[in-house]
């Protein structure tokens, strides 16, 4: 009888322990694209602190990074991401099509579910030896360009569309633009699978004369290698709106809807928006944005601690290309314009 009692107590203890663990070990995964690594490691710290303070519950956030297209594919194949923060809306759309995310997710959060924006700029080596100032210069002979592959990287799609818009703005017709794009991609030395890999190719391995990249990635690179690189702001570019979304199927299964929802909502809070600006993303909070812009003095990294937003360039948006669904179909699908460039 004593023995039976002992066993029962054991079971009760085990059950209560495992129950405890379930409520204590609250963990969510944020599946994101390459250059957000630094932003989210800073944001996660802030969020964990905020959640503990507001909801009296400890939470851990797991980060996953890679090329945006690849990340979407992994979530589609079963990677349990509670939140996705991908480089292009079309990658989130594929998850919506396979039923993981509900339709209309774009309207769940302010600013079309984009808590931060960015744009596309160039990074060149010190002194700008090849005299690169605008998109036109990238089509010249003997200029080595580094940009990722638009088939696998969201950042690369923004790069491509920014270039397209710049040539379009010169008044060229579609056939002429294609010719220019062909010349540009002919100069591409290494077509990496993601933005971070391209940065490594350009910086660590010393390949190429110019890196086409995210504004935040360019600033981060200059911060980490002071004096080695210069940022070039082309006359035209595109407003990049990375999309954040809740993966409905995963939060339903894991019971993490509340915390994941707060995780995204908190991205729009003033403290997070300031953090976003500190990581060289453009905050959507207009007050903080204007504050950043007002202190803007120079494009050089030395004076960059507070002020960095550049607005003397003409920026288009994805709407110019008819939204992501159309842009993907026309430019990036098999047999689309990007494939034609490489024919």
């Amino acid at each position: 009888m004593k023995f039976l009692k002992y066993i029962v107590t054991c079971f009760v203890m085990m059950a209560s322990l495992s129950g405890c663990q379930k409520t204590q070990k609250l963990s969510i995964t944020n599946v994101s694209y390459d250059p957000t690594r630094e932003l989210y490691s800073a944001y996660n710290k802030q969020f964990i602190h905020y959640y503990q303070k507001t909801y009296h519950q400890a939470v851990t956030v797991v980060q996953s990074h890679g090329g945006s297209g690849k990340q979407a594919l992994e979530v589609d194949n079963g990677l349990k991401g509670d939140v996705v923060s991908l480089a292009v809306q079309s990658d989130v759309d594929t998850l919506m099509k396979s039923g993981l995310i509900k339709q209309g997710y774009m309207h769940h959060y302010p600013h079309q579910s984009a808590p931060y924006t960015s744009t596309i700029v160039f990074l060149v080596r010190k002194g700008n030896p090849k005299k690169i100032h605008d998109w036109q210069d990238l089509t010249k002979k003997n200029v080595g360009v580094i940009t990722p592959n638009p088939k696998t990287s969201g950042g690369a799609r923004w790069n491509y569309l920014a270039a397209w818009y710049a040539f379009e703005k010169q008044g060229l017709r579609v056939t002429q633009i294609k010719k220019q794009m062909k010349a540009l991609y002919h100069n591409v030395l290494v077509l990496d699978s993601g933005s971070r890999a391209s940065t490594t190719t350009f910086c660590e391995n010393g390949e190429g004369d110019v890196l086409i990249t995210w504004e935040n990635e360019a600033y981060l690179t200059m911060k980490e290698n002071p004096g080695d690189y210069e940022m070039i702001i082309p006359s035209a570019s595109i407003l990049c709106q990375p999309t954040v979304a809740l993966v409905d199927e995963v939060v339903k299964e894991k019971g993490t809807r509340k915390v994941a929802n707060v995780y995204i909502k908190h991205l729009y809070s003033a403290s997070a928006q300031r953090l976003i600006a500190q990581n060289y993303y453009r905050p959507v909070n207009q007050t903080i944005y204007q504050k950043q812009r007002a202190t803007h003095q120079s494009h050089t990294i030395k004076k960059l601690t507070k002020c960095w937003i550049v607005d003397d360039l003409s920026m288009t948006t994805i709407e110019h290309f008819g939204g992501w669904a159309k842009a993907t179909k026309v430019h990036f699908q098999d047999g689309g314009y990007f494939d034609e460039i490489y024919k």
Binding site: G69, L73, T152, V188, V190, L191, A197
Partner: protein, 275 residues
Amino acid sequence: MKSTNKRVIPGFGVNFSLTIIMLSLVVLMPLCSIIIYTSHISFSEFVKIVTDARVMASYGVTLETALIAALVNGVMGLIVAWVLVRYDFPFKSFVNSVIELPFALPTAVAGISLAYLTSRHGIVGQFAGLFGIKIAYTRLGMIVALIFVGFPFVVRTLQPVLEKIDHAYEEAAEMLGADEGYTFRHVLLPEIFPALVSGVTMSFARGIGEYGAVVFIAGNQPFKTEITAILVMSKLQSFDYASATAIALVMLAMSFLILFLNAFIQSKESVKATI
């Protein structure tokens, strides 16, 4: 006394069915899924996908770099195996175990470190740059990566064969007046040739399928340094499963053909040996 049928592990029926089950589960079923996926598209579509100019170019790049790497491995692997078997030197067992490092190392790690080493900033890349040679992000770099991953195949298939060859054969050849070259060509080479072919074909087959080591060093430029495996990946990432599996099927056929040829040569050689 039924001693004729006694075997260490009894029961052909049980063993054979286990063999078939394991083979089906581990090898055949995953491969069948490729064929099933591909059957979603019509034959003409299939032909169109796999004969697309860019895909065709990638076959060329893949086969060329894998073949050159396999041949280099054949020559270098033979020399290394020879030294390991025939000579004694300090740290021999250490050297012997280093050979297998490419098997143990994740190939992506190898790819990244090779790319770093042979790029403009790397030690090897800087040195090669003095002679105007570019390694990383060219086909040369891809060959270097494939040599790395295929190297152990040749050494490890040759070693046991070399160990078995009796010194007496060489001595006899020498006594009969053969010079070193003649002895190598007519006494040693026939003995080790099947193993050499087997090692080289395995290295070749591995080179065709390699992804991780090559993707970082290749530069991935269409028509120049884009291998077929990268195309499969990029099709997958644009959620084009049918095209991806169609190309994968072609790669599967290629690898199977190579391994089949290898088995064919092996069986012919073994027939010759018994005669």
